[in-house]
């Protein structure tokens, strides 16, 4: 291992070549073009809006609308569409959409939200709509091509309701649908829906709304498509007085509309005079939210990474202009970067941004493959007529097969049954089970950790700009970004929803089996690239696993079982701890990808050693932080539910007994630390010191702590690299 003095340093901010490798789209030019287009819109039209104070209004106006037009013109609106509907990207688009959100959010989260909300509005149709619905609405929401005489439609998604404040319980919807008329060719529905905080409502002319049935002639809840020209009331409502994301439109609409039943998303059948929607609103929403939450997490991480350059520039130039500080002096050239603290705190910000981004993009890539496999699963089940609970039953066997496959993958060639392994690898249902168990953890983890821990880290970033950080003029708009992240932690499912989902999905046998394989994989990585902190992370993951297994069987001091998904004090911190670990896990994988592929790109190859050193050091720093957080949370849970011993109970000696024992076993008394004297007095403390009977935990925790060896040296190196990093002369978007 090189000493800190000899290590080669990264010389410039990482460019697109490096990012394309790390985030795995170096061979996808359509995504590279999307990135360039998004960046151009973000750093011109969007940035000018922010710089001009357009955020300082709740009303939708022409300046804000110009952002939508820029999206249309640059092809960002079409990213969501399939080629037959006017799009240009074939196949799943989770990664593509996430890259758009990432680039827009680099400048402003509200602009990114406008883009995502249009997709969210269309997602119910895209995921569960009938072919006719897809054909009509996808095309209608694509910008008109030359020669087409039509206006583009824009979509909003209406789920959230006033209850009386704001919120939604997906199980209980206040919006209602009744049957207005069954007599014509097509049944007509009367929709009564009040929305709250509905994004895009200032301009959307198409709304996908969740409603419950309020009529015995309508079997279940459903989602319906509402259009501005429908008969009845289409009231956009009042604008929300947001403190954040003001470049997106949010209002509280009221709908009282008569629409044909053909607007039920996914279609319907009529059975014995009852309209039966093919999908309940919950089924549609489940398919939608799994995908749309991931880019939100990435939006927060983009903000952290976007903060790096403005902070470096601010620190370096902090004293320039002062008559006493002359060019050429360290104070002039390095400014605040002469102080270690500035550099090291920026390392923390950067490392957290990397971890969140790695997790987010890894999830998107997983979803891109998952989308295809999910379709195949649905095809197979439809072919075999397996529905509802029968699917759950079928998955008991499939999950076993998936576990068998994981076990086979662990075995070496020659030892394992290759034919069986190939059979299982080729089974789409087995692949679905594996990917589903991962997606069920990664999606909420990215949304939860990137936004929540990210917002806390962003506070640090803002503080690194001093008072400038909380002004409208702060380069990089850091103050606004910090506030925006609070919303990102909330919308599309607040933190508690993500923790709740994780507390269930993270205990899946399939996920845990893969988690154990990650630990093995990390040890292998550590043997070739120890500087990443992979070994320490493996140890922290073992500690988390030990804690989970302990909590699942342990009871608290009152005899109540600790593991219960309603016992949020136990499950939720475990979910939080897991998020710290898996985010940095993917960060390490991205470093490894760069190590493997960097040499093939001449641009990257030139500075590869320095880049790898830096990204490894960032990962190592983040591992130490994640292990520390996980260790703290696990320790609190393992010990925190035990009763503290008191002076009357076990765990202490009375002085007389100790004297007797001393006479039999000389020296015994010196071992006793907690002694009650004859007059009842004792040392001034809560009670005898609690003893750990969790030797496994103690051992693992101690090992994990020791595994942090070198992590602060890594942080020093990363800080040194930042101190000499070449940055542009000026930010590439307006102030």
């Amino acid at each position: 291992m090189e000493s800190n003095d000899a290590a080669k340093l990264m010389s410039t901010l990482p460019g697109d070549d490096i990012r394309q490798i790390m985030w795995r789209y170096s061979d996808r030019f359509e995504l590279q073009m999307v990135v360039q287009s998004s960046r151009q819109v973000a750093r011109s039209v969007v940035a000018r809006c922010v710089a001009d104070g357009v955020r300082n209004s709740h009303e939708w106006n022409d300046r804000k609308h110009s952002i939508l037009e820029a999206f249309d013109q640059a092809g960002l609106t079409q990213v969501f569409m399939d080629p037959q509907d006017g799009g240009f990207i074939d196949g799943p688009k989770n990664l593509a959409l996430a890259l758009v959100a990432f680039e827009l959010s680099w400048v402003d989260g509200g602009a990114a939200t406008s883009s995502l909300a249009s997709n969210l509005g269309l997602s119910p149709i895209h995921e569960k709509g009938t072919d006719a619905q897809k054909r009509h609405y996808m095309k209608a929401c694509t910008p008109p091509q030359p020669g087409e005489d039509r206006e583009i439609m824009r979509a909003a998604f209406a789920l959230t309701e006033p209850l009386p404040f704001i919120g939604v319980d997906t199980g209980v919807i206040s919006g209602k649908a009744t049957v207005a008329d069954m007599d014509g060719d097509e049944p007509m529905l009367q929709i009564e829906k009040r929305g709250r905080f509905i994004t895009n409502m200032g301009f959307a002319d198409l709304v996908t709304a969740a409603v419950d049935t309020d009529d015995e002639r309508l079997k279940t809840s459903c989602m319906v498509i509402l259009e501005e020209g429908d008969e009845g009331l289409f009231d956009r409502g009042v604008p929300t007085q947001k403190l954040v994301h003001q470049l997106s439109s949010t209002r509280d609409p009221v709908f009282s509309l008569k629409v044909p039943a053909s607007r039920i998303i996914g279609g319907y059948t009529v059975q014995d005079g009852v309209i039966v929607p093919n999908f309940s609103h919950a089924e549609v929403i489940e398919a939608v939210f799994r995908r749309t939450r991931v880019p939100v997490g990435l939006m927060s991480s983009a903000k952290l990474l976007s903060a790096v350059e403005p902070i470096i520039r601010y620190h370096r130039q902090r004293f320039r202009g002062n008559a006493a500080v002359q060019p050429g002096t360290p104070r002039f050239e390095s400014g605040l970067q002469m102080k270690e603290d500035c550099l090291q705190r920026l390392v923390d910000v950067w490392a957290a941004g990397e971890a969140g981004t790695s997790l987010g993009f890894a999830t998107c890539r997983l979803l891109d493959t998952y989308d295809e496999i999910e379709k195949e699963k649905e095809r197979i089940f439809a072919e075999e007529g397996i529905k509802g609970r029968a699917q759950l039953k079928a998955f008991r066997k499939i999950n076993k097969d998936a576990l068998e496959l994981l076990a086979l993958r662990d075995q070496s060639e020659g030892e394992r049954d290759d034919a069986r392994m190939q059979e299982l690898e080729a089974d789409p249902l087995v692949q679905f089970a594996l990917q589903d168990s991962l997606a069920n953890v990664l999606c909420p983890a990215g949304k939860l950790w990137n936004t929540g821990a990210g917002a806390n880290t962003m506070r640090e970033a803002v503080s690194l700009m001093g008072g400038y950080g909380v002004t409208e003029d702060c380069p990089g708009f850091l103050g606004q970004k910090w506030m925006d992240m609070q919303l990102e932690a909330t919308y599309e499912g607040p933190e508690s929803v993500q923790r709740r989902q994780l507390s269930i999905t993270m205990t899946s046998e399939l996920f845990l089996a893969q988690f154990r394989q990650w630990i093995d994989g990390l040890r292998k990585i550590a043997s070739t690239r120890p500087g990443t902190g992979a070994c320490a992370l493996a140890r922290a993951m073992e500690l988390w696993l030990w804690t989970l297994e302990h909590l699942q069987s342990a009871k608290d001091a009152d005899g109540k079982a600790l593991w219960n998904t309603n016992r949020h004090g136990v499950c939720y911190p475990m979910a939080d701890a897991l998020c710290w670990l898996i985010s940095v896990y993917y960060q390490i994988l991205d470093v490894m990808e760069l190590a493997e592929k960097g040499e093939m790109n001449p641009v990257v190859a030139e500075g590869l050693e320095g880049s790898l050193n830096f990204f490894s050091d960032l990962a190592h720093t983040q591992v130490a932080r994640a292990a520390g957080e996980a260790g703290r949370l696990c320790a609190e849970l393992v010990y925190g539910y035990n009763a503290h011993p008191d002076w009357d109970g076990e765990g202490c000696f009375d002085a007389a007994t100790l004297e007797d024992l001393e006479s039999v076993m000389p020296g015994f008394g010196s071992q006793a630390t907690d002694v009650v004297e004859g007059d009842g007095s004792h040392a001034a403390k809560a009670g005898p010191c609690a003893k750990s009977c969790k030797s496994g935990f103690v051992r693992l925790r101690a090992k994990m702590d020791v595994c942090l060896t070198g992590s602060r040296m890594a942080k020093d190196r990363a800080a040194t690299a930042i101190g000499q990093l070449m940055i542009p002369e000026a930010l590439d978007y307006p102030l």
Partner: protein, 267 residues
Amino acid sequence: MSFHIVVCGSLVPDPLQTLEPMQGPTGPALKNEMMLPAVLDPWAGHALFEAATLAANVPGSKVWLVSLGPKAKLQQLMMSIAQKVAFDLVAVDGPAGGFLDAFETAEALAGAIDGIAGLEKDKMLLFGGCASSSRDASVTMQLIGERLGITDQFLAVDELKPEADGSFQIMERIEAGEYLVSKCAGAPAMVGWATGNLPEPPNNPQVGMQNMRTVMPALQQAKPAQVGTGDVNFTKVEVPQQRRETKIVKDTPVEEIAADIVAWLKG
């Protein structure tokens, strides 16, 4: 009458980057030049956008973009440029820096143009920037034109108006803010563009996807070119001495900004 428009243009470092000259192993270079983000040379950009507009207005016309640069960096550049206007890329793999010899550069580009299949030289309009933002030698386009036998050459052009008979009128910048207006009987001609009159087109991914059909193969098949500093010996290189004095003031009237600049010029 249609035109075959060949635009010469390559990349330059993003002007926002810190550009620090240094002595590299093969001559002078910019510090970290390979790793710095690059943009299309703005002068060549004007030429390209004018070429695309001209081709769109004269049916049957076609545009090629001939670029000399490190192909990995050209590929990044294409992800943005290829979305703006339709063209066929001809890539030449070699250096693209501010210290290259214009003669050697011209030789490599002329050779690449000579090799373009389907290019009809009697219809050819050779476009490029009248200068380059990485090195203002202002001779490369003339040298390419001469090598290709093009004797009608126009420099610092801001407008080219085609006529139905294949002739065109050209406005060249001359001193004192005046234009020289010329009439050319027709192709072939070399046009070194100044800024032209067109804004940068927005990105259009459909155009990009279309262009990518030729861009990616062109990059893969890019022939290496031996281009260097020629016989030039650089004894010293440095960025022009300047002090960036940035003032951020919002809503300042134009007159006040002008007065500020005049005061600054007067020192």
